[in-house]
């Protein structure tokens, strides 16, 4: 790979096409994260060697001996027209819209890669979430930041009970996938469908769980790992609530983290200290490598 060291802002801006992977904190909206990131990128771009003001020809010396001088055009000065790079100059499209309570991988496409970002979105990758739950209390919107509506005991909840309910949930979702494809799971067509790999029905609105398991159980805290598509955070929180009801107790969601979006894992995502131009460039290179390696997996 050719590497050039440059402090020329237009050169950098021209190269600023790619997919970046940010770490979205919980309780910050995607639009907020996007704006904060782009603001920092613009600030760094403006700190590089930006285009100097244009030059204009100025007449001086009277009518007899006209002297033409080149002077800086003040109307093109940064103070007059504003910074050379502003947030609206950078095109940016979000691949996965995480909810407000969710933290984790946020994929953005910048400038010429907004098209690629849209393609990635249409790929409908499987996302992996770590959903933390807290047994004993349920809340109004199933998340941790609203009023408590109900309390109950949870001493009777065991990991085995938890496992059995979670696996039956997974089985029912897998069955519904075949139903959505219009194929009987026991038929030859069903076998052929299954042998092609992961089934992804064309439906966009119904959440489908591919795998769900409990990875940590320390009452009252527990953590579920969920592989899912078409989800939203309310669905995941409701799932925690419903599972707890099945267990004859109540629970609410104590944190959702998207740890994987298709080929993009949470490792190497940019935490907010690294939301800058250099961070963006690093992340772009990283994401490009990830996509190169996983290209045939995606198709």
């Amino acid at each position: 790979m050719n590497q050039i060291l440059t402090y020329n802002a237009p050169t950098v801006f021209k190269r600023l096409n790619g997919i970046v992977k940010l770490l979205k904190p919980a309780l910050k909206r995607v639009s907020h994260v996007k704006n904060a990131f782009l603001f920092n990128v613009c600030k760094d771009l403006n700190a590089l060697n930006v285009r100097p003001p244009r030059q204009i020809l100025l007449e001086s010396g009277g009518a007899q001996n006209v002297v033409l001088r080149k002077v800086n055009d003040l109307s093109d000065h940064i103070l007059a027209v504003g910074p050379r790079y502003q947030i609206k100059d950078i095109k940016c499209s979000v691949v996965n819209h995480l909810g407000e309570h969710t933290s984790g991988v946020l994929i953005l496409g910048l400038n010429r890669c907004t098209k690629n970002a849209n393609k990635l979105r249409k790929q409908r990758f499987i996302r992996t979430f770590h959903v933390k739950g807290l047994l004993g209390t349920s809340t109004e919107n199933f998340f941790w930041d609203s009023r408590i509506t109900c309390k109950s005991r949870f001493s009777h909840v065991t990991e085995d009970r938890f496992d059995s309910i979670v696996s039956s949930l997974q089985a029912s979702h897998q069955r519904s996938m075949y139903d959505l494809c219009g194929v009987d799971i026991r038929s030859h067509a069903g076998y052929e469908l299954a042998s092609k790999g992961i089934i992804r029905p064309e439906i966009n609105d119904q959440p489908l769980i591919y795998g769900i398991k409990i990875i940590e159980f320390k009452p009252p805290n527990f953590t579920l790992e969920i592989h899912v598509i078409n989800e939203n955070e309310e669905f995941l929180a409701m799932l925690v609530h419903d599972i707890a009801i099945e267990l004859k107790s109540v629970a609410h969601c104590n944190g959702i983290s998207c740890i994987r979006y298709g080929p993009f894992h949470i490792d190497n995502s940019l935490i907010n200290r690294h939301w800058s131009l250099s961070g963006a460039v690093h992340s772009m290179n990283h994401c490009k490598n990830v996509l190169d390696i996983n290209m045939n997996v995606n198709d």
Partner: protein
């Protein structure tokens, strides 16, 4: 709608010149040559022109940049470092700045400020923040400075006040007097305290008084500090009283309920209230994860709340948490 369109035109012009980067000189074309624009706003254009200027070739525009080459005043402003781009975004100010006459209006007031002792390097920032200073008469400005002198502010303090808060001189002596009285009465300050507070954060004195009243209620009733403690907070971190109330309570409740800091500790280290919430939260959680979150000065392995919020992440991780940045980053990804 129209304004957006024309404005975009101007911006695009600049962006396209950034993108092309040929090095060749592009002809300086006026961005607003479209005829329909001229037809729609002919009268408005003439109104906005400085009448003494003989040039009649003005065309409507929605940023000041288009007038810079024609207006001497704007050129002087740019040389001083005034951010015209910032000014024109605020309502009515663009037109006001355009109509200014440099020799008659601007110069006397700048000379006044220079005589006062304001550093000329700060004029750019000053005018960017408050171009309306050119509306005030010199007599008024003198009276306002005299008022400060009569209240025994030292010349150095007066300079600091005017430099830090460009809006100070806009307020009549009566209003300033009322406001200083408000702070003196509600926080039980003596004369020296008032002068100290005014010099430390002149913006607080000219801030919305209603907001300060609500903040006072928040600190007193919701957070439970008494007047004496409130005075300490005010003099240490005046900014707390300019902050959003809900944010202040949120930060306080995190420090008090989650980190178990007493009121006394928060008084000693008010930095924890001025630091951004996520910063405190991340660092506290990391210390808790390492089982080092111990904020009681009487016990071993004490971590000062000031050290918690100060410095970069690297400083914190190395000096306070005694860990490494990789671990910290990995921890942040699990939150």
């Amino acid at each position: 709608m129209l304004s957006r369109k024309v404005f975009c035109l101007i911006r695009n012009l600049h962006i396209s010149s950034v993108k092309s980067l040929r090095g060749s000189l592009r002809p300086v074309s006026s961005p607003t040559e479209s005829e329909d624009v001229q037809e729609k706003l002919p009268t408005k254009v003439e109104n906005t022109l400085p009448s003494e200027n003989p040039l009649k070739s003005y065309v409507p525009t929605f940023n000041l940049a288009a007038y810079v080459n024609k207006s001497e005043c704007l050129q002087e402003f740019i040389k001083m470092g005034v951010n015209l781009h910032n000014i024109e975004r605020r309502k009515g100010l663009g037109e006001f700045v355009l109509n200014l006459n440099f020799n008659d209006t601007v110069k006397p007031r700048l000379l006044f400020l220079a005589d006062l002792g304001v550093s000329p390097e700060l004029f750019g920032r000053f005018i960017t923040k408050n171009p309306l200073i050119f509306k005030e008469s010199i007599a008024d400005l003198t009276i306002r400075v005299n008022y400060l002198e009569s209240k025994k502010f030292t010349p150095q303090q007066i300079i600091t006040i005017v430099e830090r808060n460009p809006f100070w001189l806009m307020f009549s002596t009566k209003r300033i007097d009322n406001r200083l009285g408000f702070f003196q009465k509600n926080f039980e300050l003596n004369g020296d305290d008032v002068r100290f507070l005014t010099t430390k954060q002149p913006n607080l004195i000219t801030y919305k008084i209603e907001h300060v009243q609500k903040a006072l209620f928040t600190v007193k009733e919701e957070m439970g500090f008494n007047v004496e403690e409130m005075k300490c907070l005010l003099l240490a971190k005046p900014k707390l009283f300019m902050m959003d109330h809900s944010l202040l309570v949120e930060r306080f409740s995190y420090a008090h309920d989650e980190m178990k800091l007493s009121h006394e500790m928060i008084l000693n280290f008010p930095h924890i209230l001025t630091s951004r919430q996520f910063r405190v939260e991340q660092r506290h959680k990391f210390l808790k994860f390492l089982e080092k979150a111990q904020y009681d000065p009487k016990k071993d392995l004490y971590v000062s709340p000031k050290a918690l919020v100060e410095g970069t992440d690297l400083d914190f991780v190395l000096n306070v948490a005694k860990s490494d940045l990789v671990t910290f980053d990995a921890f942040l990804r699990t939150l």
